[in-house]
Amino acid sequence: MTLQFANVLVFLGVGALFIFVNLLIASLIRPSKYSEEKLIPYECGENPVGSPWIKFNIRFYVFALIFIIFDVEVAFLLPWAVVFKELGWIAFIEGLIFIAILVVGLAYVWAKGDLQWVRPEERYE
């Protein structure tokens, strides 16, 4: 039985080796001629401008979070929709409750002004 875990271990080992061995072989056989252009980080064919260590607007995260909530909602509602007809009214009510809870969340976010890109200052308390 332990052998099944041994497979995993071997897999891990081989995976790690694969990377390092390839890099090693590459460094052994490649010619090494540096130029300024070669040292620039690759970014979709564009030349990078400025430092990558810049501050993102925190509101990206808020939007991402809200998005994920409704994403998950859909994920939950899909199986519900599949068995909806078999379960009948109870499923319908349960679904409504589920959505209502999320609606409260949406209302909260809305009332707090988090659906606007520039949050109105007076909302800060």
């Binding site: 039985m1 332990t2 099944q4 875990f5 109870i90 809870i101 409260v104 969340g105 209302a107 909260y108 009332a111 707090k112 308390e125």
Partner: protein
Amino acid sequence: MNLGNLDSLTFFYPELILLGGILLVVISDISLKGLRDRVNPLLTLAALLLALFYTLQTDHGSAMTLFEGMLALDNFALFFKAFMLVAGVLVLLGSLHSEELAAVHQGEFHALLLAVTLGMLLMANSAHLVMLYLSLELVSLTSYIMVGYLRSDRLSNEASMKYILFGAVSTGAMLYGFSLLYGMTGSLDLFAIRDALLAQEVVGFNQVTLMLVVVLTTAGFGFKTAAVPFHFWCPDVYTGAPTPVTAFLSVAPKAAGFAILVRFFLGGLSQPAGEQWGFISGIDWPLVLIVVSVLTMSLGNIAALTQNNLKRMLAYSSIAHAGYILMGAVLLTGTGLKAMLVYLFVYLFMNLGAFFVVTVIFNSEKTFELQDYNGMFRRSPFLAVAMSIFLLSLIGIPPFAGFLGKLYIFGAVIDQGLYWFAVVGALNAAVAAFYYMRIMKHMILENDDRPPTPLQISPLNRALLVLLLVPNILLIVFWSPIDRWTANSITLFGGL
């Protein structure tokens, strides 16, 4: 008896009430602009009290599981549910007149308090690894926000961030332990896991893996209970968080951690055998926990000795107390478990009391430093005496309630013949007396040159102090209801 989803709802009122409470508080927070500061605490209090009422009313006949084996409903769970709700009520009352929280908008605070309480109720009940993990995360996530509730306070933010990171590490370790367990037994249901372990029908059954499971899951529970070596977040977080939140964290999630610890180890990794539990051969988890317990209380007490910040000192003190409480859980006996429950119960009142005094003093003095407590006896004898009683109770000096807790714990340990363990506990209690007495010395004996100005305490805070004092003083006289209640509460689903 295992109930299906719809049948389970009848036994699920406390949780449903809390859920409704959360939604109502959120709705009132965004719709009642003028009234919300008055309505929200009332709504929260009402939800907690109603849930408490239903918890005490719950007559479940015998132990059973709800929601297709997700939750276990037994006397043990009911004890913890009542415990969490009482803690919630006390912390809510304590937070009402707190200057720290008065500076920020409190709408979310009340919703979060309800949410964390809901999470803890679920934690105390869970009988399924996924449920266990989800409820633990619900508690953790909400407490992260509560810790960082003072948005403009750097310490509070830092504490919250540390708490998140550390929590992630610990729960990660715990999840890894769970996954190993799942890999070996093929089940996430605690009782199915036990049956599989008992039947030795497991994949890769060997002691090392199982010990790894024990240690890794202990990381998760240890994080919640702040046991060494998973305690590192505790002093920093306790110092940074608003004091009512600190008081809450030091009692309720800790107790919830003990609840799932017992549920996991006794329900999942032991077999009931007559009056006692026996651990399944090859998994000597009590030994791990005894080591953790000894480390926890020793480190907590010794590190507290040199602290000068009251919140930090109480943080270490609460680490030490986790060590004592753990003593009861590792004995594998009903008396041990009962002792643990008694200790938790008295700990609720004495620790909340001590933290509450700190809150009250901060309200007018804006300080947590020990030397600013000098001359407190002349400024407010009531407060100084109340603090002394809480501290004496924490030391475990009769006739205060803390003595009862220590008595039960050490008695249960000695019953099992673990004399050295009891001696270690007693030595620790002696060390602890030193720093608790130090606080009393500063408050009562040391005076500074300033003329004493009376300290203002709001009537609500005064009433709450009295409310917290009463159990500390009277439990020793009326311990028989506690004795009966806890003796009743040690029945675990699938246990004794």
